[in-house]
Amino acid sequence: MAHGPDSRSPVSIPRGAPDVHPAPDTPAYRATALRHPTRPLVVIPQTLTEVTGPVYGRESIDPLDHDLTRQHPGEPAGQRIVIEGRVMDEGGRPVPHTLIEIWQANAAGRYAHQVDQWDAPLDPNFIGAGRTLTDADGRYRFVTIRPGAYPWRNHHNAWRPAHIHFSLFGHAFLTRLVTQMYFPGDPLLALDPIYNAVPDARVRERLVSAFDLSLTEPAHALGYRFDLVLRGRDQTPMEYS
């Protein structure tokens, strides 16, 4: 049984810019020690498998999924924030109608997750999970609360800077991105092995959102801008080699 190319005419995905992502073996982040490959990666061509990907539409999203402050009977504790941004490919073209999933700790720095057992309080009005689709211009918007920092056991007196996890699909298996958004001016950033695993300091700063007064809602919520750039598509239809 043969596949033809699908109706979206998938194209090859250019290799991303080099030296952007963390090295899989980052000794300062101890958990990488036994979780990074030591054998060489095998280079393979892109086939239909890699240039296609799942399509998630409106049926995957509930109307309140983008607003983490309205998923419970009461308002969560903490500083209300709005996060807006644009998802683009490396060529600067918007990535429309793609799924974004986020998850985060509450204002006290505690995740609503059974593995997180430090003694900061849980918030009955905050689970800390959201999802949305980008619009036709690649724009997205979340409403949530600013997460707290929290301790972890990587090294003595280790604290993760406040962050929100982001997961994006893009249009193909190869355009996926899983990352974390940080907040400007956080003194913990300089001490964090995960943030600093990104080798280039200027590239690292792409993970730090920007305070934006134009997104800030009077007497309601602070605004932060966070744009994301996925591995891009080029315009050349490919032969499936």
Binding site: H36, P37, D89, Y240
Partner: protein
């Protein structure tokens, strides 16, 4: 050019956020039900209990996303993808692309799962690029009718082949 956003780890609380994903995996016109089980193992042979595996094949209705159990076990229910040939005549044996993510993984590792009862494996474009002595790390063993087994090992002697694509 816009600057590519770097990866960061999913961390240990991925289950809160990574919830979308259809299981059993389905695709129009495909009817052979299968189960793939195995363990997701670290360089000491211990199970990775806070990982997520994402399976994909063209034409499917969504990704198959499975969280690993505390001891690293995983179980995917799906329908078997077909063999295919592309316009250049290259043969693609039935397979899923697999992405693995976990605490302690700062990026993503990409691999594939093939099936050991498929004669097209010998002609598969990608399998032929994998060194002979490592090819078995990509091929799930049939254990019972429609049931396959493959460990995914991120490091060590039995290390799974990961791809640069």
């Amino acid at each position: 050019m816009a600057g590519l956003t770097p990866f960061q780890t999913v961390g240990p609380y991925l289950h809160l956020g990574l919830r979308v994903g259809r299981e059993p995996m389905t695709a129009p016109g495909l009817t052979t039900p299968i189960v793939i089980t195995g363990r997701f193992l670290d360089g000491a042979g211990a199970g990775i209990g806070d990982g997520v595996l994402e399976f994909w094949a063209p034409g499917f209705d969504g990704i198959g996303r499975v969280w690993t159990e505390a001891d690293g076990r995983y179980r995917l229910t799906a329908v078997k993808p077909p063999s295919s040939a592309d316009s250049s005549g290259a043969v693609h044996a039935p397979h899923f692309a697999v992405r693995v993510l976990a605490r302690g993984i700062l990026t993503e590792y990409l691999t594939r799962v093939y099936f050991d009862d498929e004669p097209d494996n010998a002609r598969d474009l990608v399998l032929r690029l994998v060194p002979d002595d490592r090819r078995a790390t990509l091929i799930a063993a049939a254990r019972a009718p429609s049931e396959y087994h493959l460990d995914i090992v991120v490091q060590g002697d039995r290390e799974t082949v990961f791809f640069d694509i």
